[in-house]
Symmetry: C2
Subunit: 423 residues, 2 copies
């Protein structure tokens, strides 16, 4: 019976490919950067309403959120920035519930002249849909909705609840997902279709942003030997950071990382120092991100970096009087995971095989998602798996392959059938 | 006779120390950053008028200046920014003429909270006068005026002309001095009392500002191995620049540099690159200044740096497809000098001994002045010698020692007596 249900579902999905493409285009064309999410959410609400789901729309409450230690945001209110949760109620007992979580917010488009088409065009070319948000991650969200609608339209009644979430603020710290957790939305597993190139990530890396301030001593450039160059000192500091990365990664034995060159990278993303070509620079600021492994805690990782910076003093006494200042700021992602023997993972993998006729690639992810909040704060096992193209997320000319979006919808739908179980 | 003249002059200068201090205070209190020179120049004009000098006040002509290859300025006009030249005419033949050149412009004060007193206070404390411009170089200018007034007030009639110049734009490329040269002001020697800590600089370094752009390839920080860090590449670039500095300095044999750790420094003054902690940076900009030796040409030095950057390609093939971009921008100082056997240098040194009872320290200077323009464009031998404190020029809490300003005035006055000769 299940097999027949799945075939019907796959057929329905194929028939409705254009409808899905149009929906994604509409969603992409509503630019939903931080603060401007409501128009895109309105489309989501409209779709869920037509499907008869039980809808919850609310603006997260800053005062409530800021009490929680996991709240990270540069905003002080979320007016006009609603979360949307839509529940396809199951019939009752005997099945598993699931949260299907996707973020509606997108990062800014950057320099428009780097895009071939307008950044929010939703143009379709050669089987791809282009625009900021296609891959990260509105295409994934559409795959979820398509899966849910297929199940409904094919008359398949599930036992467990399917809780679809369209959240704000994933790109800026997770306040949207955190708000759903604090509202007590719970399930037996979470699936987040972030852009994984169709890989399955049972473990997801967390990350922290750090800022280092390296001090020097000013002097005229013509007598530079009277000063101490903060740029030269920062080169030593960055060597130590690289050394820490090598050490941290030498400890990793997890086979999920075996195909990944650097499992837990420390990236130096930004440097700025000095202000006058003719002066020795006396301050350099360096910013970067450090990966947090699924089996590590935030506190452990913070301490490792702090200790490494202190150890500079043994090599160079300048750092005794002028220690590197370390600050943790901005975005933070908790690591996430699902136990490798968890049945949900098995169900997902089996259905991946059923749809694509190939075994999935199962890996540890190199970047964080809201999955860390579900894993660590809500204690719900979380898997990340989606049709978007990892390499183009956040870049110009972002796109998604329609074929992959459709495949992902089928895999999610058949996974729901096996996981939530059918009446 | 000359000895008696000099003693009278020294006595007059000592008696008029307070007058000189008051004049410097008035000059310092008129903040004369680029574009705002006229109030300070008005004071200079008033002093020169009282002394009966032949005065020439004019605003440099942009259209005329921009025809000259040595014109460097970020300004397109000099309205309300006058040069002042005041001539104490000599009696006629038999003596040498001299240009006494000082700039009236000052660099900005920077962060006011770094100053103990208000930056343009002119406060006197423990024998020092404080304020932006005291040392660089209004104190030197006052020493010149005091010397000229002493000679006049003591009834000493010189044979050669003394041409006092109070110019704009020294800090921004030399347009003021260049304008006097294009107006055909000429003499047998030039003295510039920039802040040398009372050392005599018969050779002065030039300098050029350079900007380097180092390219990388963007990627997500969590998969940083897919990108190429422009920050890492810029570290290699800076190593090569340091290597060039070592090489250039290994060639220097001139005894004038023997007490100087790095005769011709290459200073990296500013770095900026990347814009997101979670991204591999794809562009880093580095700015610095490279010293030009008194016996070098600008073109030679430019070629050396360009070739060094090309040589990176042998070590790292990344630089073949992604060569470092080199741009020469902003300020430029030509090197200056006076032949070591030039009689003016002898006269100055002798009078230094006469006044201070010590031999002067004679060195090659580590930084550029308008002396390069006089040496290379006007072909007039130039010496730099002044009472200001090198280390505090351009910094907060800039000051000058009154005692040194007075000594310098005496040395200049007695030098004029011997150089211009007396009726």
């Amino acid at each position: 019976m299940t097999k027949q249900f799945k075939e019907n579902i796959y057929e329905w999905i194929d028939k409705n490919e254009q409808k899905a493409v149009k929906l994604l285009q509409r969603l992409v064309q509503e630019k939903s950067v931080q603060g401007s999410e409501s128009a895109a959410q309105a489309i989501v609400v409209e779709v869920c309403r037509e499907l008869g789901f039980q809808i919850d729309i609310w603006e997260p409450n800053f005062k409530e959120l800021e009490q929680n230690e996991n709240f990270i945001s540069n905003r002080k209110d979320f007016m006009n920035s609603p979360n949307v949760v839509a529940v396809m109620k199951g019939s009752g007992s005997g099945g598993n519930s699931i949260i299907l979580n996707g973020h509606i917010d997108v990062v800014p488009e950057g320099e428009e002249n780097q895009w071939n088409e307008a950044p929010y065009s939703g143009v379709v070319k050669e089987g791809k849909i282009y625009g900021r948000g296609t891959t990260d991650m509105k295409g994934g969200n559409v795959a979820l909705l398509l899966a849910m609608e297929a199940i409904q339209q094919c008359g398949v009644k599930l036992k467990g609840d399917v809780i679809f979430q369209s959240v704000i603020e994933e790109e800026s710290g997770g306040a949207g997902s955190l708000a759903t957790i604090l509202k007590n939305y719970h399930a037996d597993a979470v699936l987040i279709p972030e852009p994984t190139n169709m890989k399955i990530f049972p473990k997801q890396q967390g990350s922290l942003w750090f800022r280092l301030k390296v001090h020097g001593r000013s002097a005229h450039g013509g007598t530079r030997y009277e000063g101490v160059s903060a740029i030269e000192k920062s080169v030593t500091v960055m060597e130590y950071v690289k050394d820490l990365e090598t050490f941290r990664n030498s400890k990793i034995k997890d086979p999920l990382y075996s195909n990944i060159p650097i499992p837990l990278p420390i990236n130096i993303g930004k440097i700025a120092g000095g202000n006058w070509p003719s002066s020795v620079p006396d301050l350099v600021t360096v910013e970067g991100r450090i990966g947090v492994g699924p089996d590590e805690t935030i506190e452990e990782v913070k301490a490792e970096l702090a200790n490494k910076l202190v150890s500079l003093q043994k090599e160079d006494s300048w750092f005794i009087e002028n220690p590197v200042e370390l600050e943790w700021f901005g975005a933070r992602w908790l690591p996430g995971s699902i136990p490798l023997d968890h049945s949900f993972l098995q169900v997902l993998s089996n259905n991946y095989l059923d749809v694509t006729k190939e075994k999935p690639i199962v890996e540890a992810s190199p970047w964080g998602t809201d999955g860390g909040l579900f894993t660590n704060v809500a204690n719900i096992p979380t898997v990340v798996f989606g049709p978007g193209v990892t390499e183009v997320a956040h870049y110009p000319n972002e796109y998604i392959e329609i074929k992959k979006m459709i495949q992902a919808a089928k895999i999610v739908a058949s996974t729901l059938v096996d996981w939530c179980k059918v009446e």
